[in-house]
């Protein structure tokens, strides 16, 4: 596990993040949330409300886990980046056929680490939906450095900075890319 050394910018994919049963229950709970269409020049996908306000028991437990000191300490240990306990954004996202998120850096005041927890079946290359991390070319996004197809019950974390260029490639076909994501502050 070498978050800092991973290229093109610090990141790490943690597989089997939750216990299998726990992940399955959370995936079912997420699918019951209401998703709203989000559409702009930069993206097209569906998103839930801020999951802090979810009434669902499984989601509340997940939020509680993210709020815990243990989680903040674990992230700090992996990344070497100090995050405030309980200071994070989170929402559910759903990418279906033709949905995408084009290249951007995520940088906004206070965001230290971006995270995506995949609650969908494994995607292959042909399904699209990969998270592509792009190289930095003198302050501009360069060529694709690394690509990660969504993998069930895995958590991707990456450092947010002026060079954390990334995109979600268009989903192609019938698979549904469910995830919970946001930023740790």
């Amino acid at each position: 596990m070498d978050f800092a050394k991973n290229m093109p910018f610090p990141h790490l994919l943690i597989e089997s993040f939750l216990g299998e049963k726990e992940a399955e229950r959370l995936a079912l709970a997420l699918k019951k949330e209401e998703f709203e269409e989000k559409d702009s020049d930069l993206f097209s996908f569906k998103q839930t409300q801020d999951l802090h306000y979810s009434e669902n028991k499984e989601i509340k437990e997940f939020v509680k886990m993210l709020e815990s000191r243990e989680f903040a300490e674990r992230i700090e240990k992996i990344s070497g980046i100090k995050v405030k306990k309980g200071a994070f954004d989170l929402a559910g996202s759903l990418y279906e056929n033709t949905d995408y998120l084009l290249c951007h850096d995520d940088e906004l005041e206070g965001r230290k680490i971006a995270y995506v927890y995949y609650l969908c079946e494994d995607f292959s290359e042909k399904d699209g939906g990969a998270l592509a991390l792009l190289e930095d070319d003198n302050g501009k996004p360069g060529k694709s450095g690394k690509r990660y197809s969504p993998k069930w019950n895995s958590l991707m974390i990456f450092e947010v900075s002026k060079r954390s260029w990334h995109e979600v490639e268009e989903v192609i076909g019938k698979k549904k890319r469910y995830a919970i994501g946001g930023w740790l502050h």
């Binding site: 020049d41 084009l102 951007h104 996004p141």
Partner: protein
């Protein structure tokens, strides 16, 4: 070149009034059908050169003197001048092809620029579900965006205000191998 129904004096006045009132105007079947067919078929043979900056745009630039000549012609300039109500000054022209995975994003470079823009679209066929719409919106996000769907042989003129931005919506996988070409002109 221009469809005769659009060169009638009274019609030109109506187009001018619509442009003046709305800040944009969209004309379908803009050039003579046969001429459009020939032009479209010739431009279809040109793939162009890929131009991509991931956080700004992705398309192919086509270098086509014939198309550029049409939109720099005296006849076209005369028509355009009548619609916008002033002599057409220095014009910059570009010809871009958009296919699957192409787009342009809103960018700060556009801020503060006031100019007249026009664009002419060439395509064999296009479906709105494939993306590609040309969108103009204001900085504050208030007000209705102006959305120009992709229709072959359609011509649009927009008065781009300082507080406006534009983008071309991402072309998705449903487009397959289909593409469209935008001839875009900018006048200060």
């Amino acid at each position: 070149m221009i469809n005769k129904s659009y060169t009638d004096k009274e019609i030109v006045v109506q187009i001018k009034d619509a442009f003046s009132e709305n800040g944009f105007v969209r004309l379908e079947s803009f050039i003579d059908v046969n001429e459009y067919g020939n032009l479209n078929s010739r431009i279809n043979d040109e793939e162009g050169e890929i131009a991509k900056i991931p956080d700004r745009y992705s398309y192919s630039l086509i270098d086509n003197l014939e198309v550029e000549g049409l939109f720099a012609s005296d006849k076209f300039n005369e028509f355009l001048g009548k619609v916008i109500g002033k002599k057409v000054g220095k014009m910059t022209l570009s010809v871009k092809r958009f296919g699957w995975k192409d787009y342009t994003l809103v960018h700060d470079d556009e801020a503060g620029k006031e100019e007249i823009r026009f664009f002419f679209i060439l395509t064999d066929k296009w479906n709105v579900e494939w993306g590609g719409n040309i969108v103009y919106l204001t900085d504050d996000g208030e007000g209705q965006p102006i959305v120009f769907p992709i229709t072959g042989n359609s011509f649009c003129i927009v008065k781009k205000r300082k507080d406006m931005h534009s983008f071309v919506k991402y072309v998705n996988n449903l487009a397959g191998k289909n593409s469209f070409v935008v001839v875009e002109g900018k006048i200060k």
